[in-house]
Symmetry: C2
Subunit: 485 residues, 2 copies
């Protein structure tokens, strides 16, 4: 008995049509407006207000992709998309994702699908070696570390924070068994840069701990001296500093906290240092960018998103910890649990203890396909190409006396603005986005309104950068013309 018109033979046919639809979409994506021209609520009126009783025809569903969905899509993989940070997309990753869906196993424990757990552990080792992470972070080493795929960097930040909270509570109670957990928690204080992503502050709210922002310097990086001074003050006020989330590649300007200074301070203070390199991390596979990661040896945990810049489709956020027991212990603190903890030191890994959700997809297949079908050299070439395109855009901006560069261009992000008022720059951005040819988003840097130009799509080439710059330059001319004298 079948309850749906679609059998395996139909799937073979429709699946192949879908492959062609996706190939056509990506091949011709430049011809679509990168940013959609719809008003909030546009979609509801285009489709029925309830599910059909009887199945719809497949042809109708497919027709509705262009009628209902595409008009409302922001095309992240268009070479004219320069907003936010990239989200990765590659053919090897898409193929692996199909396989992942086809197998459809849930990997919450080793037994639930051993291959799902084991490939993940080994892929995180492969990737860790590409980054030249210290051996402490690898599972194959004799140490106590290892890696895991989280869904997003926000979750990695939270998991690290919960692990740190649990570790400090345990440590204080070891010395002072009568001290109440909530009393300890009420004195805890976590830190991040004032340039850090809002998800770091959000992690603090979720975990119910005080979160303070350390002021960054003129290059938007946190320095050791500022941090030390804050710690001293907070300790004198009776607080317990326990966690620092360093950012390598901040969202506004891709700035790098000075972890070679901050790491030793965290270590000396017995604080957990987590490194969030969500965007920038992918670049560390290139020897010339690896020095940006120097200081990782001081960290307790490190995270970046291959799903941003390493050609692995969302979601795939790679996280490593130096001590597996720390992260597993974050969610359980009672003695009973230690039995499971013990298992973890052996060969069996139950990744459900490493993350917030219970269920998990077989995401390491995507890493496996991408790493093998690009090879390390292919991945490095991809990173270098993007950085080269950013430098090319930067040169254009610098050549135009009307503009200024607002932050060092280290990787694939260029922060720039018209010399002049925020108002003028807001008008510029508004007109750029309204034209829908390219798409950018702004940021705030040192109190000024700044435009962010991030190299995003896999298929962005020099000609797109030239086009984008001509387009921006033209709109800027009009904006400046329209200014009251």
């Amino acid at each position: 008995m079948t309850t749906c018109g679609m059998d395996t033979a139909d799937f073979r046919r429709r699946g192949k049509e879908m492959v062609d639809y996706i190939a056509d979409y990506l091949e011709n994506i430049e011809q679509r407006d990168v940013y959609p021209d719809v008003q909030p609520g546009y979609l509801r009126s285009l489709i029925p207000n309830k599910a059909p009783e009887e199945p719809d025809a497949y042809e109708d569903v497919i027709r509705d992709i262009e009628r209902v969905i595409m008009p409302g899509v922001t095309h992240w993989h268009s070479p004219y998309f320069y907003a936010y940070f990239p989200t990765a997309s590659s053919y090897p990753s898409m193929l692996a994702d199909m396989l992942c869906t086809g197998i459809g196993c849930i990997g919450f424990s080793w037994a639930a699908s051993p291959a799902c757990t084991e490939l993940e552990t080994v892929m995180l080792d492969w990737l860790g070696k590409m980054l030249h992470l210290p051996d402490d972070f690898l599972a194959e080493a004799t140490g106590q570390g290892g890696g895991v795929i989280q869904s997003t960097a926000s979750e990695a930040t939270l998991v690290a924070l919960l692990a740190a909270r649990s570790r400090i509570v345990r440590k204080i109670q070891e010395d002072d068994p009568d001290r109440q957990e909530l009393d300890i928690i009420s004195r805890l204080v976590a830190y991040s840069s004032d340039q850090a992503h809002s998800s770091v502050e959000r992690a603090g709210l979720i975990a119910g701990v005080r979160m303070k922002k350390v002021p960054a310097d003129k290059t938007f990086a946190v320095r050791g001296e500022t941090f030390s001074a804050m710690l001293k003050e907070d300790k004198e006020a009776g607080l317990i500093p326990f966690y620092f989330c360093a950012t390598l590649g901040t969202t506004p300007s891709c700035a790098f906290d000075c972890i070679t200074e901050l790491g030793p301070i965290c270590n000396a203070e017995n604080m957990w240092m987590h490194i969030d390199a969500a965007y920038a991390g992918s670049a560390f596979i290139c020897p010339e960018f690896r020095p940006l990661l120097n200081g990782v040896e001081f960290a307790d945990s490190f995270n970046f998103n291959p799903h941003k810049w390493l050609l692995v489709n969302f979601d795939c956020s790679a996280m490593w910890v130096k001590k597996r027991a720390d992260i597993i212990g974050a969610f359980k603190m009672d003695p009973l649990y230690l039995k499971h903890d013990h298992q973890e030191s052996g060969l069996v890994t139950d990744y459900r203890h490493w993350q917030i959700p219970l269920g998990r997809r077989f995401r390491s297949l995507k890493m496996w396909f991408v790493f093998r079908l690009y090879g390390l050299k292919g991945l490095q070439a991809y990173i270098r190409k993007h950085v080269g395109l950013a430098k090319e855009f930067e040169r254009r901006v610098r050549e135009d006396q009307r503009f200024e560069i607002s932050a060092d261009v280290v990787l694939g992000l260029v922060c720039f603005r018209l010399k002049g008022s925020d108002e003028t720059n807001k008008t510029l951005l508004k007109r750029i986005n309204e034209a829908r040819k390219i798409h950018l988003v702004p940021c705030q840097l040192a109190g000024s309104f700044v435009l962010r130009f991030a190299i995003c799509a896999r298929t962005t080439e020099s000609r797109h950068i030239q086009e984008a710059w001509s387009h921006i330059s033209e709109i800027a001319s009009k904006v400046l013309q329209d200014l009251p004298n």
Copy 2:
């Protein structure tokens, strides 16, 4: 310049081959052992210990699926898989998932891809109507509710708990502005059934609040009287009850907490009632099972997993709230944030405020394809078929005097055991799983070791149930024979 050997033409070819591989896999899945015969650590030795410098040949990668991956896969979609609860898989969902990956947008805000947000809102309305949820929970209504896709039920439980924590703190501080947040939190107490999933207790650990287990009755359901007595005692001890997570369809035995009794209590006490119907929720689309959801009108939030039993591939956990502002307010409590909150009452939804992670896939496409290509009647037929198969298995067990049924069979789960010792039943389960023909997991019910038989695969038919029962029955005979007299 391309950095990978695979261009769009290659993707067309390899994508179609992958469609066939997946179709072949699912068509012939019965011929594979459902549970893998590998030892922990099996995979590492089968592949290199680092990524290749140069790209591997595609043929080698594909060959390795059978060589490296498949030997370690637990085949969740085999009709011989009866472990845990089902994870959904259907061809319409797989096609939609391919499209989701192809579009590859990230839907953290409306603007990041309006179609992604808007289709989700409407699909949650469609699904809410299939379940006959009160209008309060729908976004299209004039009320303040709406739905969102979470990754897993664990995350929905946590999000609801955080929303409840934030709501109670706000409420108490309104009356008593000097009262410290941590003082309030130190007195909070949340509740769930002692049959509830471990992720509920875990949510309490993450949120840093006390979590108590309410003893279930003989049918494994929490009743109002027990709950009231606990609340009274806790309030007398100075605690502040604020959250109850009711379970409809518990993991051990698919029992149903009595929400028509518990709901009014929660409402009277100003407690947040969250309903976790992760597995059972899908059944409520059938009128004959909808009464199991009676009492949902008292809830603040409701969640179930279409990715379990409604043919939508993982991940897709549907969550509704009566007041959008409650859930959004969970992560921000400062006045500045209220400005954003205000936006939420309008047409623009930014789903990043509804969830733990920041990024999100275009998952509503899967719901859209499945709902349209099955139609409500097709989905209902699917649920009824599974329940029918469970009843068929139950009859077999009841006909065999050596066995007993351990809990009411309401939906697709049968809990059963050999009359006799736990030891005998443990041996039975061990031998069943070692034979690798079918796969089951156990549970603990009323202090006894019990076997769980859950109808899982889409393609399970009566003949598989008959085979499974013959197989179990045969092994049982041997186990009983081997018992010392």
